[in-house]
């Protein structure tokens, strides 16, 4: 890539202003370790920079993503070989079985309530994964299941998911095509209709999963008023307190993504979960390192403090 680009990258990764030889040396050292510092551009990197497809601004994300993929593949191969993987208890997921059993005994329906986001949102995908597992268990117990929907695309996907789950459970005859239904395309119309249904039908179990907005408390409080067991899970940080207050069990953030591995105990899924844990440990280690080195620089080498700060910020910058 052009000389201007290289000089821009140098400035971008090293930072502006003076700092002396020590600052430059530290940048080279750290950059050499993590392949993102361009204090001196090696020959191979120049060629790579000229490659017309790569967006150099996102190269750090690419390096970290590929690294994460390798960690994931390592744990998948370990899981395939049958290595033991420890999984901490998640009360909300342990209660899922009990909640379905309770609904079966009472002869009352189980409500699976989605968040508002469309199916290309990752939290909705996680919710659909769990719906498949819940529907299979519900089919085995022959309990009534109701899945109201706000998004037409989610409705179409969930209808197929529930149908497939009944077929896999060997209970295709018990499948009710109207168990997954579309309500309305707007937030509060959906909230009003679902909370009305909850109050009229008084279900035994409510499972609220996905990405929720202001309707979360309306749904959860209506469910709590009927005395149903409520299991909620969301990665919407602003809605978590409402679920914690109104539901019996809450899956917080990443627990929503861990649910399918936890419920099925499939080795491959558990392997992916372990990779996630390693990613978390590395993120924590990076943050601790950043804090430690920046603090150290602040206390003893004020001239390099900015370099440290910029280096770590650039390392984790996504755009």
């Amino acid at each position: 890539m052009r000389e201007e680009e290289i000089s821009f990258r140098k400035e971008y990764f090293i930072g502006r202003g003076g700092g002396g030889e020590l600052r430059r040396m530290l940048n080279r050292l750290m950059g050499g370790l993590l392949l993102v510092s361009f204090s001196s551009v090696p020959a191979w990197a120049k060629g790579w920079q000229r490659f017309p497809l790569v967006d150099i601004e996102r190269i750090n994300v690419f390096v970290l993503s590929v690294g994460f993929i390798f960690v994931l593949l390592y744990f998948l191969s370990r899981a395939r070989k049958g290595g033991s993987l420890y999984l901490r208890r998640i009360a909300g997921l342990d209660a899922m079985e009990e909640a379905i059993g309770r609904a079966t005994e009472m002869g009352k329906p189980i409500y699976f309530i989605n968040g508002l986001d469309p199916p290309h949102s990752i939290s909705t995908i996680a919710a659909i994964n769990i719906l498949g597992l819940v529907a299979r268990r519900v089919a085995e117990y022959e309990a009534p299941l109701k899945v109201p929907n706000v998004d037409p695309m989610t409705y179409a996907v969930e209808k197929e998911t529930v149908k497939e789950a009944y077929i896999h459970a060997g209970k295709a005859d018990a499948y009710d095509p109207d168990s997954v239904y579309f309500i309305a395309g707007t937030q509060f119309a959906y909230a009003a209709a679902v909370s009305g249904s909850l109050l009229r039908e008084k279900p035994a179990t409510n499972i609220l999963l996905g990405y929720f907005y202001a309707e979360s408390l309306i749904l959860a409080e209506s469910g709590a008023a009927t005395g149903a067991i409520q299991i909620a899970g969301t990665d919407a940080v602003t809605q978590l307190p409402f679920f914690v207050a109104a539901c019996d069990y809450t899956l917080i953030g990443e627990e929503l993504y861990a649910a399918s591995a936890y419920l099925t105990r499939a080795p491959l899924l558990l392997g992916a979960l372990k990779a996630q844990d390693v990613g978390k440990i590395l993120s924590i280690a990076t943050l601790l390192m950043a804090t430690f080195f920046t603090f150290l620089a602040y206390a003893f080498l004020p001239t390099v403090q900015e370099s440290f700060k910029e280096f770590f910020l650039n390392l984790l910058r996504t755009a």
Binding site: F68, I69, Y155, V157, E160, H168, E221, A275
Partner: protein, 245 residues
């Protein structure tokens, strides 16, 4: 662009479906997994490509195309969804099942809004504003008012949830109660009137312990999202096949 995409989409859809139907079920599954893998990997690499060079632009063309396909598919699913809505509510009214009145209102609202919405667009060029005006009037008078009412109800739900959550049953609940009192007092003028420490303490709680916990959750969510995406791209988890093995 959409008018060009639709015939292509239909032709490719039929061709794809015919080829797909020729395969036996285990092979069909692998076809679906291969498509998911190819498209998933493309989307992954697309994120790291530039649009500023001709090669990059060419590579990104398919990204735009996939997005348009997603819009078309979502449009088609609306037909399915409305069909389902009609089926359920017409049956309910026909059989006079409990709550059929609500179903009747739903159907009435659906047909009225659709009628005035479609007529409004149809006669837009001919200068008949009556339909559009009626549509807007119905929207503002009913929908906006009802939406606002539902949103306002949130205040009462919040009060009842807070009452349950803030009962000092144990150490953690008492701590939450104390924090809530400080934050609530710090956010209203009367708190500042009692002591200026309330707003300062509130800012500290929100900016440090609260933000630290939120960022911790968000980091876990980001990693979970990446892992879930990879599981789907690599075919380890297949929600699009109904969880089939």
């Amino acid at each position: 662009m959409v008018t060009i995409a639709i015939p292509w989409f239909i032709v490719l859809g039929f061709a794809g479906f015919t080829v797909y139907a020729l395969f036996k079920p285990p092979l069909r599954r692998w076809v679906a997994i291969s498509i998911a893998l190819a498209v998933g990997m493309y989307m992954f690499f697309q994120f790291f490509t530039t649009t500023e060079t001709p090669a990059g632009e060419y590579f990104n063309e398919w990204f735009q195309r996939f997005n348009k396909w997603a819009i078309i598919i979502s449009g088609l699913t609306v037909i399915l969804a409305v069909g389902n809505l009609l089926k359920i509510h017409i049956l309910k009214v026909k059989k006079l099942q409990p709550g059929w009145g609500y179903s009747f209102i739903t159907l009435l609202a659906l047909f009225t809004m659709s009628l005035f919405g479609i007529l409004g667009i149809q006669f837009q060029k001919e200068g008949i504003p009556w339909y559009q005006w009626t549509f807007r009037w119905l929207w503002k008078t009913f929908n906006v008012a009802l939406d606002s009412s539902m949103f306002a109800l949130l205040a009462f739900f919040m009060a009842s949830a807070a009452y349950r959550a803030f009962r000092a049953r144990n150490m953690e609940a008492s701590l939450m109660l104390a924090t809530a009192i400080i934050v609530m007092l710090g956010r209203v003028p009367v708190g500042d009137y009692i002591t200026s420490a309330f707003p300062t303490l509130t800012s500290w709680i929100l900016m440090f312990p609260n933000l630290a916990a939120q960022r911790g959750i968000m980091m876990g969510v980001a990693l979970g999202a990446i892992a879930t995406s990879l599981k789907i791209i690599l075919g380890i988890e297949r929600p699009y096949l109904g969880g089939a093995k």
